[in-house]
Amino acid sequence: MSTAVAAGGTTATERRPATMAQALTRALRDAMAEDPAVHVMGEDVGRLGGVFRITDGLAEEFGEDRCSDTPLAEAGILGTAVGMAMYGLRPVVEMQFDAFAYPAFEQLVSHVARMRNRTRGALPMPLTIRIPYGGGIGGVEHHSDSSEAYYMATPGLQVLAPATVADAYGMLRAAIASDDPVVFLEPKRLYWSKADWSPEDPAAVAPIGRAEVRRTGSSATLITYGPSLPVCLEAAEAAREEGWDLEVLDLRSLVPFDDETVCASVRRTGRAVVVHESTGFGGPGGEIAARITERCFHHLEAPVLRVAGFDIPYPPPMLERHHLPGVDRVLDAVARLQWESDWTEDGTGRGAGGTEGSGRDGRGA
């Protein structure tokens, strides 16, 4: 393997800089080495190593039967993966880009998602569908979609989106090990993000369905996942200057959804903003806001707000910066969380409202 993480040479405690892409490659490699049933397939995954090089070296190491270039046909790729899973394999399918997974939608919705249910558990679908997704990379049309809402609306699928290098490894391992199908959304603009990381670190393995508090705070909770996590962390830093102490929660798993961690945080802070790239209307934030309202109503100081991409087809690259939720838009939403100062004539929502601990009134937690 040509990555910074040398094969076999890393001890349990040794942490080295690695990119998310390298962690994903390592996860695939380790899963294939451990379990001969794991097969990687997709367009250009063989000799080229995938257009993002996530499957780099796998065909050489495991042979073309285990890491195979398929004909260019997403419905065919996923449909044949269904048959392979029926026969005991654990296919890991790569869809080249978010929007190019759509031809496979029929297989995903009509078969992959409901095979266990249709057969009363006789035919589980232990397959992983990796999809590089989201915008912010200057891609031309059809290369930047955030399609998670479609998958979330399909019962039977697990929908994961890692945001850190360690999670990329741990969550992909968990996805491949899962006996249910996983739509594994890889935030492509974080592929080259780096962190000190060791694949042997047991903390790196993320159980499916568990959210993680990335930054503790007391004024309000930013709830996010995938590509928007770095945006929220940056917003939380900037908010300090405004006097807000924001908690940042990384969902990691959209389905199953970790109500417990989310509610524990919102009950403590009393305020929440959901942040994601995908469209707001009919997007994941609506579901998340509704769940919080249902469970935490009496702890809320303000309505749960959403910061999302506009309700438009993903724009051309020269305009995408106007579409993607950035730090300012997150801070503006935080300012609208009905801080006590808003109730005075001042009403700006900024300044005095952001005094320490203003988000708490003792009713929470």
């Binding site: 000799r47 080229l48 270039d69 065919g76 031309v140």
Partner: protein, 384 residues
Amino acid sequence: MTVLEQPGSSRHGSTATGDRPAPPPAWRPRVDPGPLLPDEEPYRVLGTEAAGKVDIALLKRLYEQLVSGRRYNTQATALTRQGRLAVYPSSTGQEACEVAAALVLEERDWLFPSYRDTLAAVARGLDPVQALTLLRGDWHTGYDPHEHRVAPLCTPLATQLPHAVGLAHAARLKGDDVVALAMVGDGGTSEGDFHEALNFAAVWQAPVVFLVQNNGFAISVPLAKQTAAPSLAHKAVGYGMPGRLVDGNDAPALHEVLGEAVARARHGGGPTLVEAVTYRMEAHTNADDATRYRSDAEVEAWRGHDPVALVERELAARDLLTSAYVSATKDAAEEMAGALRERMNADPALDPMDLFAHVYAAPTGQLREQSDLLRAEIEAEGEH
């Protein structure tokens, strides 16, 4: 004997074997597939006796378009390196297909290009800068498709093919003798949409020509991993339409084969699938590393079968390649490239409010709210 155990019809179809009863008539092939089958070798004109019969005016027109097309490709590739284009899938080496596809169509016909076929769109008359808008990234389609009857350059593979069939069908229903020519790569022929389009076209006898540019690779995947068919043109036969195999670097051959297919479609003869055997000389796009999957030797071998050089050779053989003609052709191409460079080097005027302009015919309340938000953000930005 169950229905499934009925003896299958043989390729040429008629009689049942031995003492088994003949299959019911509905089981027989409707057409003898023989006439639908492609030739064993790609059809060629240049370098054969047929070359001498190519009309001089056509030969020159092809040459001028090829030279200009090659220059367009090198210019667009250079603009990518300068960061002026987000991406450019070059058709260098494939110019003969691009040019011939444009030249065989009448003004009223429609072209359905893929992302690689900017050149065909330009050869059809589209403004060279507008044709690049998608790839520069200022809008998804930079031109009005009605202006030259060029559908938007299509990025998802093969999805434009059913559109072409539908348009051609509609035109025929209206009594217009309009033909649609749709372009797709070898990799795209594996997509379900390709197969559904062929089937619809044949069942409806729609006036469509499918042009497959078989350039050997789908990004890194060679043809052998894409299909086990003897040729891509063979795929036509099962749907009930003729498949034609042609040398994709031989412009006059392409012009003839595509021209026949267009004429056939226009006169009610139904669709044709044309496979042009060519080669992609550059990487898939500037983001691709072609050395990972193919050898320099292979690329070099194809350099000897260059579409521009092939026509040049024929012109020379007929004493038509005078230095005055060559330099005039080159100058014209250089002038086009210079104008393209100049216009592409200016930053496009962008209005972020356009984001909301064409989502619906009448904007929704939500979109009005969101555009107000963006306007306020931009105004605040301007005040800083």
